[in-house]
């Protein structure tokens, strides 16, 4: 999967690249919205928009985290398990009576620690991130299920439920959406305008050149994993708050889905390429689609099939974008 850095890889019209990058995905997104609103009058109703905004933060936060990682040239298949682990741990602590700041901090730290473990192994032993995080995915989930015996933790205090579910003035804006929006804005700024962000691109684009430019590549990678792990934890926290339980089996497959969204949004496995705004459009596209299908009340299996189809369509559209 390594991309060779010869001329053929470089886009022909680099000036239009940034614009074109988001343009085509926007078209798909806009097309979907129009199509669904014709098919169901409910689709653009207040109720559904409210639902949509409350459903997106979990997978959305994982997606931006994973995108940052992809830009740095790595993947994390364990993101879903980290989210479940940190979220369930938070519920456990909340039920035990710990205060909100303690619980939130502990949960983020747990996510960061799993990220640290991923980052440590990958950099210390020069491992392929795909296979290592496949391993930690099994491991983290297994440990979580073992400790909880696979049973939901209930008896969540009210404040925990409010984390995700506090209404913000209007009917369709809730606290978890706000958290997601803040995360996106902060991360987009970071990737563009800070050294940390530019180092991500440099490391992803050519790790050896980055190292020889004085970037501590390993340490940077570990930092990125730690941040991505905390973001996954944040996602898990909001998810469990939304579900009002500690659900150890939850968020399975979210990591792969986020990866698909990131790539539809223009990031590349080869690293060095991608933007936060692209990632957000990518996940919006996938989620608008799934939401529309749910509103239409399609057969579960057909929903699965067309979700696959939309992934394919999105990457094919992306091909024409790249070729332009």
């Amino acid at each position: 999967m390594k991309v060779r850095l010869n001329e053929a890889v470089l886009p022909a019209k680099w000036e239009w690249r940034d614009i074109a990058l988001q343009y085509s995905v926007y078209i798909v997104l806009a097309g979907l919205i129009v199509a669904f609103s014709f098919m169901s009058p409910m689709f653009l109703g207040k109720a559904n928009i409210g639902n949509f905004f409350r459903q997106i933060p979990t997978v959305g936060i994982v997606t931006v985290g994973v995108t940052m990682l992809l830009i740095t040239g790595k993947v994390d298949l364990s993101a879903g398990s980290i989210a479940a682990f940190a979220g369930t741990a938070a519920v456990f602590l909340a039920v035990k009576g710990f205060s909100a700041p303690v619980v939130i901090l502990a949960s983020l730290i747990i996510g960061a620690l799993w990220g640290l473990i991923n980052g440590f192994f990958i950099t210390r032993f020069d491992l392929d991130s795909f296979i290592l995080t496949l391993g930690t995915d099994y491991m983290i989930r297994g440990i979580l299920l073992f400790f909880t015996n696979g049973i939901y933790i209930k008896g969540v205090p009210d404040w925990f439920y409010s984390l995700s579910n506090t209404r913000l003035g209007v009917d369709f804006l809730f606290s978890n959406t706000l958290v997601f929006a803040v995360v996106v804005v902060v991360l987009a700024y970071m990737m563009k305008n800070t050294r940390f962000g530019r180092y991500c691109y440099a490391v992803g684009s050519n790790p050896e050149a980055a190292r020889l430019s004085g970037i501590h590549v390993r340490r940077h990678l570990v930092k990125v994993y730690v941040l991505e792990g905390s973001l996954a934890a944040l996602a898990g926290l909001l998810l469990m708050s939304n579900l009002n339980v500690g659900a150890p089996g939850e968020a399975a497959g979210v990591g792969l889905f986020a990866l698909a969204a990131a790539i539809i949004g223009g990031a590349a496995f080869s690293g060095g390429i991608g933007t936060m705004s692209g990632a957000v459009v990518g996940i919006l596209t996938l989620e608008v689609f799934r939401n529309g299908l749910a509103v239409l009340g399609l057969n579960s299996f057909i929903q699965q099939a067309v979700t696959g189809a939309i992934i394919i369509v999105a990457v094919v559209v992306d091909y024409y974008r790249r070729r332009r």
């Binding site: 470089l10 022909a12 800070t194 050294r195 050896e208 430019s213 970037i215 060095g272 390429i273």
Partner: protein, 503 residues
């Protein structure tokens, strides 16, 4: 002999923002070695990629052996007997030497099922390797070979295809002198067989040695075609650069200043550097000579923290320093321009501006305008040819990429500049500019270590020359006493027997 084999007429090709070829013609005879000359970015590689079917021309005609080929593809080029020795290595690293040479044309025991005849494959391979004088064995995995051997393989690939026209795009940049001699023997033999050869190089000495005629490009424009016998070096340079370059090596001699770096007993884990000790003073250019593979690159990689040190001590300004990572070295004011700019020097996908600023992001929050201004200043002062500082570094021509790497380090507070093959693939004009920059650096009381396989350059620019052989230092020559012969003797002496002679 005078049969025209290739004719390219009025070729035009543009990329977004650049017209790389503005109507260039080229005509090559069978049995001729034809040089294609021009500054970095003049359009030589682009012209050849049009010929190889890698790019499609916007306008212009291609006639090969009397056949008009309006649309060329790589497959067709191969069928027409066009062999390509690319500027960049393009090998399947995981495969054996034999497979790389014969991929696409493997011998079969059973052609239909495609069952490979390994015995024949290896025999055929050994024959070609022998012809090339390559040390590699047929079964060696290419990824494990040194660069010079890989470069020979690229050449072998073209030869083994029985190509009627072979394009050599800067084939000698990774070769040592001995290998160059071998290569020229091979080229002469090909010429005897009536093969047409296009030869691209920035080393004028080679051009005069091996080429019959030359076509010169400047800024994508056709300047002219000359017969080598009838021109002087200066005429050729004027055609390429559009002005005279008075002095090829504008050496400014200076009094060496304080001791900047002192190295004691340096060795590495791979056994490529053995007990190396030397000194560098402020205000001097210290050259490192040696055959390809003698371990010069390995020494400077140790100094820079790019590889791990097994033994030895490094002092900067009189105090011992600990260098584990390049960032430690950078903090000590050491920088390294690597010999391989694509793999190690640049992030090809990132913009020119970002590459230039990569070594100098002091603040956590960036001021984008300032970074841009910095980059633009370097683009101007180094005359980097790019349509904008936002262009990805990967689309620049080789020489301009090298300048970007240089800018990256000039953009730091470095005191010791290590240049590993700094003029690799760089045109004469730019070479002079780089020498100028070196002079500026030592004038500022900084120091330069220069590794180069081009002896004239070394003799022209270095104040002192260390010679290496098989991982050991075998000599330390002063500017006045150094000659080509002395250097070659020291470089070929066995490491063991010459130990006593070092320093």
């Amino acid at each position: 002999m005078e049969r025209v084999y290739l004719q390219m007429k009025d070729i035009k090709k543009s990329f977004p923002g650049v017209q790389a070829l503005k109507g260039v013609s080229l005509s090559v005879h069978a049995g001729e070695v034809h040089a294609l000359l021009g500054e970095n970015g003049a359009g030589k590689s682009t012209m050849m990629k049009v010929l190889g079917g890698i790019y499609r021309q916007d306008a212009g005609e291609l006639v090969i052996d009397g056949v008009n080929c309006p649309v060329m593809t790589p497959e067709q080029a191969q069928r027409l007997g066009i062999g390509f020795v690319h500027q960049e290595l393009n090998l399947a690293e995981a495969l054996s030497v034999a497979e790389n040479l014969f991929m696409g044309r493997l011998p079969y025991k059973n052609k239909r099922l495609g069952i490979i005849d390994y015995r024949k494959l290896y025999n055929d391979t050994e024959a070609i390797l022998k012809k090339l004088g390559a040390k590699a064995k047929a079964t060696d995995i290419v990824g494990n070979l040194p660069t010079a051997q890989k470069q020979l393989l690229e050449i072998g690939k073209a030869i083994s295809q029985q190509a009627k026209l072979i394009i050599f795009d800067e084939p000698t940049t990774a070769l040592g002198n001995a290998d160059v001699v071998l290569l020229f023997d091979v080229i002469r033999a090909l010429k005897q067989d009536g093969t047409a050869i296009i030869y691209i190089s920035h080393r004028l000495k080679e051009i005069f040695e091996i080429c019959d005629r030359a076509t010169v490009l400047r800024d994508g424009q056709y300047i002219g075609t000359v017969v080598m016998r009838d021109v002087t070096q200066n005429t050729l340079i004027r055609m390429m650069v559009g002005r005279d370059i008075n002095e090829l090596f504008p050496k400014v001699a200076r009094q060496a200043g304080d001791l900047l770096m002192e190295v004691e007993g340096l060795s590495d884990y791979a056994g490529k550097v053995k007990n190396v000790s030397f000194q560098v003073r402020r205000g001097e250019i210290v050259g490192f000579a040696g055959l390809v593979g003698s371990g010069r690159t390995e020494v400077v990689r140790l100094l820079f923290g790019a590889d791990a040190i097994l033994q030895g001590q490094i002092q900067m300004n009189g105090t011992p320093v600990c260098i584990r990572e390049p960032r430690d070295a950078i903090r000590q004011g050491i920088c390294l321009l690597t010999e391989d700019r694509k793999q190690q020097g640049l992030s090809l996908l990132m913009s020119v501006a970002e590459n230039i600023n990569m070594t100098n992001m002091k603040n956590a929050i960036l001021n984008r305008n300032k970074l841009r201004e910095t980059a633009e200043a370097f683009v101007r002062s180094l005359r980097i040819k790019t349509s904008s500082v936002d262009a990805p570094a990967g689309i620049l021509s080789g020489g301009n990429q090298q300048k970007v790497v240089l800018a990256k380090w000039l953009n730091t507070a470095a005191e010791l500049f290590i240049f590993d093959e700094p003029t690799k693939g760089i045109d004469v004009g730019a070479k002079a500019e780089i020498y100028g920059i070196m002079n500026e650096l030592i004038k500022d009381n900084k120091a330069v270590i220069m590794i180069t396989s081009e002896l004239p350059e070394l003799l022209g620019m270095a104040d002192r020359i260390y010679v290496m052989c098989e991982g050991r230092l075998t000599g330390n020559l002063d500017r006045v006493e150094a000659t080509q012969e002395k250097i070659l003797t020291l470089a070929t002496l066995g490491g063991q027997q010459s130990e006593s002679k070092a320093q």
